[in-house]
Amino acid sequence: MSIHIDHISKSYGKVNALDDISIQVDPGELFGLIGPDGAGKTTLFRILTTLLLPDHGSASVAGYDIIADFKAIRKQVGYMPGRFSLYQDLTVEENLRFFATIFGTTIAENYDLIRDIYVQIEPFKNRRAGKLSGGMKQKLALSCALIHKPKVLFLDEPTTGVDPVSRKEFWEMLKRLQAKGITILVSTPYMDEAALCDRIALIQDGRILEIDTPKAIVEHYPKPIFDVGAHNTYLLIEKLNAYVHKHSVFPFGEYIHYTDQRDGFDPLELRAYLKNEGLQNIHIERTKATIEDTFMELAKQ
């Protein structure tokens, strides 16, 4: 139940939404497409779910060609588009029952698969979908996408606009689904979620920056990274950016992630420079790169 994507390109007028994309997702894998809005994630999802035709290249899902066997794919996959596409004027239960019916099944038949998720929203089953919170809509949309026991699940930005608690719960659910043998392709603009996937593809402006396991991607980061802090963050950013040897300066939570152009960089030298510029409580410490560091490093090139 794998996904092969072979040199897919798609453009809208002059804009290259996807530029020669190749990805191979193994059966049972939880694969993440990581990139900001406009990177081409949604276009790729629509091509794989047979909603759009690629300009060039080919792809197959669960062994079926996305063009020739589009009907077979439509029976096999579960798809959750961006904006939780639910009928706002139908209740939770009516939405679920409707999607079960059009796939020729019933809620009872596949209840096992969705039980974990659905029990959380079941107390609200008579509430209209439009009146649910973002987290509950997300769970309902996932239940609807799962109700026909799909072999491959496509989730387009399922956690966008959802608070961290719901996001965490959502990823825990995905892990359990994966354990049941479902292949999952999920996209997200949140870099911190990348670590939860088996493998990820970093994507920006329709191009793949890198494909690997989250761990390997972090290890590939070419330079030592330092956490830098001081009493005034704004001044610190300004001074770091003005430093002649700087390679990159990015705020990262409490600290600034700093990399130097030189190979034999001495943190003491930077400390002296910052002190000289009037900064106090200077803190400089070696730290590990994150996926976001790698993404930005690759995107800069």
Partner: protein, 242 residues
């Protein structure tokens, strides 16, 4: 040094029918502060924000924004604040310059002032090439940066930002925050909501709402110490799950 308070909220409450969306919240925000306003979906953030910007009337309690009362002086509040949200920021079918002119006009800026400001803004953001392009044709990150600048056009005392960086790429997101730092450094107060927990760390102080109440309010550092966590994400999860 006596610090000026620009937002004063005491026991602010909003009730919809038998549902209390915002339950007696109280906090102060100082001038030039970056104040992070966090909370899960449905915790009451948006409702509270709507009361502060004068588009929703509180059920009880008091609040004073930029020196004006949220019950009686909403028009004055609207003149002294800037507002930008993820959902609506600029008109996609107007050019960058037309948007600036339009929003400048709304806030009653003179023609000279608008053209002066818009030239400055375009130069600062390096938008010379796209000044006459439709906003809809620009990448999301650019739009959000322009929208933020536009919300500062009339030199508001406070800017309210509702999830300004949702979906924006990581580099642009940081550039956006550098703009926020800069505005705060110039004395503008920033009131911001976000779902990115690393962004919470950029704030001077952070409040976390759970079910209509403010459950925590402190500097990110103190919050992390208090909850024994190494990140704001962890603080948030601990609070929201308890």
């Amino acid at each position: 040094m006596k610090e000026e308070t620009v937002i004063k909220v005491e026991g602010l409450t909003k009730v919809f029918g038998d549902f209390t969306a915002v339950n007696k919240i109280s906090f102060h925000v100082r001038k030039g502060e970056i104040f992070g306003f966090l909370g899960a979906n449905g915790a009451g953030k948006t409702t509270a924000m709507k009361m502060l910007i004068g588009i929703s009337s509180p059920s009880s309690g008091s609040a004073n924004v930029a020196g004006f009362d949220v019950y009686t002086q909403t028009e004055d509040i609207k003149k002294s604040i800037g507002y930008m949200s993820q959902k609506f920021a600029l008109y996609d079918d107007l050019t960058v310059k037309e948007n600036i002119r339009f929003f400048g006009g709304i806030y009653g800026l003179s023609k000279n002032r608008i053209s002066q400001k818009s030239n400055l803004l375009i130069e600062e953001l390096g938008l010379e090439k796209v000044a006459h392009s439709l906003v809809g044709s620009l990448p999301l990150g650019w739009k959000q940066k322009i929208a933020f600048s536009v919300s500062l056009l009339h030199d508001p005392k406070i800017v309210f930002l509702d999830e300004p960086t949702g979906g924006v790429d990581p580099i642009t997101r940081r550039q956006f925050w550098e703009m926020i730092y800069k505005a705060a450094n110039n004395g503008t107060t920033i009131f911001v909501t976000t779902h990115y927990m690393d962004e919470a760390e950029y704030c001077d102080r952070v409040s976390i709402m759970v079910d209509g109440n403010i459950e925590a309010l402190d500097t990110p550092k103190n919050l992390k110490t208090h909850f024994g966590s190494d990140s704001m994400n962890d603080v948030f999860l601990k609070l929201a799950r308890s």
